[in-house]
């Protein structure tokens, strides 16, 4: 990660920690507390959990004479680490009014002070503990960046399911230009290398880089738009079982609105949707987002096409868009751009793209050691891989080999569709 070499650890730590707090700046205290779906965590929980991560995995083992801020906090802020003891049941996070937002910010400050102290010790030591700690620190920073993405999507869910549709950012969104037709990127059959290359940080699930044989295939050079998705809706796509997986068809029957999440039919008007800039008409030229795997898969089948596998996606991305750049969190845009607004092919940024690949370990998958081994590996079942990052993903956190993963019915992330054949 070039960033890490150019700026000091201290600066990087501070920037990342501040970024999380800035994301919460527009919130009312009330918005920090609730959990309108088990998938969503209260923003104050995210702020506390990421802080607990640093305290628990760095300050406690490595900073001499460190006193934990509050011995009851681990019970609140441990997420799913069985090895780290009991914790609030995930679906009860939204019942916990305390610690208060104010106390959690105090907790952050306390941990930050001590962490900066520890960073100094790490940087001036060449003992093995310092190498270990430096790695864990990197994990902690990456972890906080992941929760920045969740902060954005969870805040959107909290505000977007409130009938007042509170505006998170009052700036006018930029408008999309007229969309161009999608073109096909043709890829030859052959052996491709998949997985993380280089020495910089990556998650264990991106390792090890390995060869795969791909059949000849083609992949589109832009994302599917709202306009294209609306055609599917108008063609009765949600009412015809032929397009759907059996499990998806059951899922469709339970939907309140046969549309992407956050879309609302407004009588006598075009479809509207909630965005972090407020309740607005759906712009047909922008990429469709907040669709489930079931919807992405059904749309592709209706088109007579399919979703790419994650290997196909990665091989094409390495050719078309090898540099990490795009509509990411740092742009504070909060919504996918249209393809006309950028030169690129939208592989990176904008939306996470559902792939046709199940989330499973790569050959010779090296699970992280110790408690961090619970980070990725134990979730490798019954989820699908998404690629490319979204408007809510920090750019400095992204890699071409990055594997995101969700269950097939999840839609509250900025998820979207790219077609292959």
């Amino acid at each position: 990660m070039p960033t890490a070499t150019h700026i000091s650890l201290r600066t990087r730590y501070t920037q990342i920690r501040q970024q999380s707090e800035q994301l919460c700046a527009p919130l009312a205290t009330e918005d920090y507390v609730v959990q309108p779906s088990p998938d969503v965590s209260p923003p104050k929980w995210h702020l506390g959990h990421t802080t607990w991560f640093f305290e628990n995995f760095l300050l406690v083992p490595y900073l001499k004479d460190y006193t934990v801020f509050n011995p009851k906090y681990p019970f609140f802020f441990n997420s799913y680490y069985e090895s780290q003891g009991p914790r609030v049941h995930r679906s009860h996070r939204g019942n916990m009014t305390r610690p208060s937002v104010e106390d959690i910010y105090k907790f952050r400050k306390y941990v930050d002070q001590h962490l900066l102290e520890l960073i100094e010790q790490i940087e001036t030591s060449d003992e093995s503990w310092a190498t270990e700690a430096r790695f864990t620190l990197e994990v902690g920073l990456q972890h906080e960046q992941q929760h920045q993405e969740l902060l954005v999507t969870d805040i959107k869910y909290i505000l977007g399911n409130n009938p007042l549709f509170p505006v998170y950012d009052p700036r006018e969104p930029s408008r999309a230009e007229l969309i161009r037709l999608a073109k096909w990127i043709e890829m030859d059959a052959g052996l491709y290398t998949i997985g993380h290359l280089g020495d910089d940080f990556c998650w264990d699930n991106e390792l090890n880089a390995h060869q795969v044989y791909l059949q000849e295939y083609a992949i589109q050079d832009r994302l599917v738009t709202n306009g294209e998705y609306l055609e599917f809706m108008l063609a009765g796509g949600y009412d015809n079982h032929e397009h759907w997986l059996a499990e998806g068809w059951d899922w469709v029957k339970g939907l309140e609105s046969k549309s992407p999440l956050y879309w609302y039919a407004v009588e006598g008007k075009a479809w509207h949707h909630y965005t972090l800039q407020g309740f607005r008409p759906v712009d047909l030229n922008l990429p469709v987002t907040h669709v489930s795997y079931f919807e992405a898969d059904a749309f592709a089948r209706w088109k007579g096409l399919r979703l790419p596998t994650e290997q196909e996606w990665e091989a094409a991305c390495r050719v078309a868009e090898p540099q990490i750049s795009g509509n990411f969190l740092e742009q504070n845009h909060w919504h996918p751009h249209g393809v006309g607004q950028r030169v690129a092919t939208q592989f990176l940024g904008d939306v996470w793209e559902w792939t046709a690949s199940a989330y499973l370990p790569y050959p010779n998958y090296p699970r992280f050691k110790g408690a961090l081994g619970e980070y990725n590996g134990k979730f490798m079942i019954n989820q699908m891989v998404l690629r490319g990052g979204s408007v809510a993903t920090p750019q400095s956190h992204m890699r071409v080999s990055y594997r995101n993963f969700f269950q097939t019915d999840k839609r509250w992330q900025f998820t979207g569709i790219r077609l292959a054949r």
Copy 2:
């Protein structure tokens, strides 16, 4: 209601409205928002709902040129009035971070100003609308007092299910004196009059007063204590099906702790429980509270006794404790007293007493007209009657004929036990 005649309507309105806000004074903003159980509503919802009641049933129909504070608020603050349009699903109240606490206090202020204006008009008019409005105003005030009780119990639930056990009132609770033995109040067989007498306000469910024939019976002159209930626990009361109704036995199997709500077994120590004054040892001389009907009924059966019917309770109360006085909300005590602390027989105040009577209409039950008809009548099924009021009930809201009602598994109210034979 003598109060109403001695103090002006204006003063009474203002006092009751302020009382609700004072009950919330110890809360952090976060505490106003959540709903840890479908039975519990967020404190900010109670503040908004009672205000909506005044706006919707008084200002809108009776105050000329009144503009509603916010036309979207009824969707948030209508509780269960089918006739008053759609509303947030009851179990989603805790997902609504907006309107904010601050906005709800503004809503209250706005409605209060207009309501005082309306009161002036009511008091100076002798037209029929004014009689109607005066009645609805009385209902609104009584309604707000009911929600004061719920504010106390819901705040207790929100704080008491947080592992930090936040203290609501830091004052030291008074201690109970040694408990005296219960004595029997013997009652003759014969005709008794049951239901509300007099012209002052009462709920429709207390009407009409009517005669009932009671067999000879006896009823205890004090409440069952924690000490007596603990005997039941130590005797294996929760493990022996013979004491329990079949439905209660199923309910017991699902309990996390075989004890009243808020009780915790602390290793190596006596039982503790959460009170609004904090986490404290259970005082054996105080009345047991936070028990379900199933527990009250099982305890009575274990004792070889039974619960009184509501008629038996009322007939005895009219003899033993005809004046409304006792450990009510106005005392700010937040927990039942021991019987030694008062001269009375604890019929009134302290805890709501489960009776053996189902909540059903009295003969010739006159349901309120119009939308207010939904107030009581539609809940008259599958609930049991409780009598006497609790520490969370405003004294000025209580009557000997007052009928409270809950499902048999509910425990978050200050519920308790009196025995009969």
Copy 3:
């Protein structure tokens, strides 16, 4: 019970036992096995359970050297007796293909042989065990008669929820004459005696006879008909919340068909319903049946009337129809008659009439001793009382004081409506 004195115990035992088997005669083996709802038990289970009752409570304690037919059977055939050990979970009865129907008939034969032996011993002994055993035998016979009713209703449910609508009895049903208007039976206010009188057998829940004071009331002299109920349906009764209890309104929303159970809208034709004589047009002159308490209560409210309490029902029945006679099981009619078909007022037979009374103990309720104490008392919560017996109730099992009870949403029994004011 005059029957018991006129015919020998031996004969009576044999007749009742044969009656159960005759009710199953029209069944295919397959029909004996399934449980399409947790409320419904497989017919073979009823046959086995009633037999277990005799074996367990009579042969085992009283018949010397008796060997149980199969020591594993109690696990299958104990219904809900906690004191009698573990058992198949109620909702799993329909998963048990064995013991086979044939084996259960062998079990019946085996128990019958031994029971007749025991009856001889009982009749020739004047020791106290014989008195005890004679009482338990009576309970066993009454118990088997209760299960005869359940056999009829459960068989109806099994066949009536099969799209082939198998015919249980191919005989043509008799047709109702034109219905006459209902008249009011006026009853004075005053003290009435309620509960079982006399020395013959009754359930503990009918004891003790006691006085109640009733206000002046009136009760209709016939049951509500399908035609009257259809008016309610056509007037949008199921779509107007004002008629319904809150819990009933929730229940209505989940109904597949807004009509009584077994009713089907047949395109271009009148409403049809499933009867044990097959799928037939609904006869508007016959009493409505298979309605829930919620429906009975809503219908009454729509009419501006109400359901009678069980005391009002009993007091009126003692006047209007003191002799037990009517359209009962012995008539093999399987469906309620019209009022024109009999001289009586339909208090007895035809349908169980929902009353406005909760199922609770009478004053000084004397629960049966020992294991039989589980028979009635533990179900006295969250159920409503029904009175009068139905086409599926053996006439020799009925009393004016008989209290049946079901939860408010149950409809698979032959339940109906009588109005009061």
Copy 4:
């Protein structure tokens, strides 16, 4: 499929149809009816459904003047074909006592007669309809063979969850010899061809054959045994979260017995399990079976090993056991053999082996046309692939490329474990 070429279609049809009926020969009528779990279908449903398949997809479209046996049967016997109209909800199959077993056998006879007629027409025609029909006939036969496997496993579930543990086949099972140590089959890295080769029948999901690149790997030459699995159990395998996927760990918490399905701890004795030959001690030398994916995966992780992917499995099987032979349905053995009982490496027969591969389409997957397109493709999500066939699989139905698939928590099939590294 060589079989198909050597014996006449007519003979093959007749044999396969008879095989299904022979599997049901040991059943009592009652055993045909129930559905103790939504995964399990009543045996009579299997007999009807496979028959409906022939009627609906062959006789109706291809046999001139064919009259359906009963126009209501499709409602009962359509499984999941949305294109073929409404049907009994899957979980209600066990509530349908009719059509009776006898009627279903008549239905089979009727369809068989007409089908044999149609076969004659097919064999003597060279029109395109005949080619089409011949294909559909092949699908129908393969389909019936799949249901033979389900008949065996569903019968086992029905009998094995009955406390009487009825014996399906009273013959004494053969005993396993002492187990030998597992050896590693070492496989080189490189390109391998995966999928069906040749012109004989296969499912669409085995197509198209394609190249994959495999890393170097090794796979064991026999299945994991009960003895090895018991070591895992005794080492506390079910109590240590480190071995389990997160979803698996949640699943474990809900288990009644921490053991494979059908295992019972018998006080003072070795573990027993239910087999179709009765309730017997677990033989430590036989392959473990009736384990979920979660258990297979956890066991492998505990061993420091892993499950093979389906490609690794297929590549190794093509080397080690290219001929289809083994302990299959035709042997009527009903339980896996020990490895000592056969020369082979147990790739084929005995148990379905869980692989580490999600059930997803192969490149250029050619879904069957028309209604049969619903056969496989719509289930390609959230399931894992199993390979190799079991004691319940007809040998003539098996191929090395055969892909079976189940959700990760399913255990009622004969599932087992082979390790890789």
